[in-house]
């Protein structure tokens, strides 16, 4: 799926470079925003239905703490690296606030800075793809909380990969729950750092 998404993005990029579909330009930002709203609504309905059916994972204080620590670690990593990069600390925090949710964060950051949205997209995609390869290796030596932390909000695909290798399918539900808590924080963090 990741490769299909990258191919669609590349196709859009190529159309933009070639000047094709230029009539869409005045409406693009609005279409992206409303598509994001629709997507978030569908995800939220699914979460609500899971709880009604008794299949929703129960939140524990520890899971919330691990999710918050994942967010804090991601922001700390960005802050520590910012002095060595060509971006300000604020921009590094904005990029790191994406946490791997590229469809939402790239769209929001684009309105703030088009060039920074490129960094945000690469950050999110690379975090998801690398987590898919890293988590199955890390789960052999470490425990679920720190392993799931590498994926940020994009832990679902990588959790499945880790569960396939480890044989412990509970990491998938754990990853979804931690990822959901982190995902709830993404728009809050992006809004807060952009308005700084």
């Amino acid at each position: 799926m990741t490769f299909i998404l990258l191919a669609v993005l590349a196709a859009g990029f190529a159309c933009g470079r070639a000047g094709l579909l230029s009539f869409l330009e005045p409406y693009e930002s609005d279409i992206v925003l409303y598509a994001l709203y629709a997507m978030v609504t569908a995800v939220a309905v699914d979460i609500g239905a899971q709880y009604r059916e008794g299949r929703g994972e129960r939140l524990s204080t520890k899971i919330v703490l691990y999710a918050l620590a994942t967010v804090a670690g991601s922001l700390l990593g960005g802050l520590l690296l910012a002095p060595f990069l060509s971006v300000s600390a604020k921009d590094a925090l904005i990029v790191c606030s994406g946490m791997g949710w590229y469809s939402l964060s790239t769209g929001i950051v684009y309105a703030y800075s088009p060039s920074l949205s490129v960094a945000t997209f690469v950050y999110c995609v690379f975090r998801e793809v690398l987590a898919i390869f890293l988590m199955p290796l890390l789960i052999r030596r470490f425990e679920k909380p720190e392993v799931v932390a590498t994926g940020g909000s994009a832990t679902i695909n990588s959790s499945v990969a880790a569960a396939t290798v480890s044989g412990d399918s509970s990491i998938v539900l754990y990853g979804i729950l931690v990822g959901t808590v982190i995902s709830l924080l993404v728009p809050i963090l992006l809004g807060a750092f952009i308005s700084l």
Binding site: Y37, T70, I108, P114, S115, Y123, T150
Partner: protein
């Protein structure tokens, strides 16, 4: 801040709707296809916006490298912070005999 509030309201309303309405099943194929369609539209339009913006194209190499390095730093730091927190909350766990070592 306005965007943040809109997303929180949408998320809350969606969860409430899914919880209350018995007609809405979880893991619906139609909803899953709808989400994928939305995602593909978003990515195509974002790609189109990026491709038609000269500022973005000129910054693509440096910003791409920035994003890549930030993702490595964020992954390493979040792994380290959660590892320390887990040790503080649960203590060091001995390696589980058999199960983890037996994995390929």
């Amino acid at each position: 801040m306005k965007i943040m509030l809109i997303y929180l309201v949408i998320m809350g309303a969606g969860i409430a709707l899914g919880y209350r309405s018995k007609r809405l099943k979880s893991a619906s194929r139609g909803r899953s296809l709808f989400q994928r369609a939305c995602l593909l539209v978003i990515l195509f339009l974002l790609g189109h916006q990026l491709g038609s913006d000269e500022e973005v194209v000129n910054a693509a190499t440096s910003m791409g490298l920035t994003g890549l390095l930030l993702s490595l730093a964020a992954m390493a730091a979040s792994f380290g912070v959660v590892l320390l927190l887990r040790i503080a909350l649960e203590g060091r766990k001995p390696p589980q005999s058999g199960e983890k070592e037996a994995r390929p």
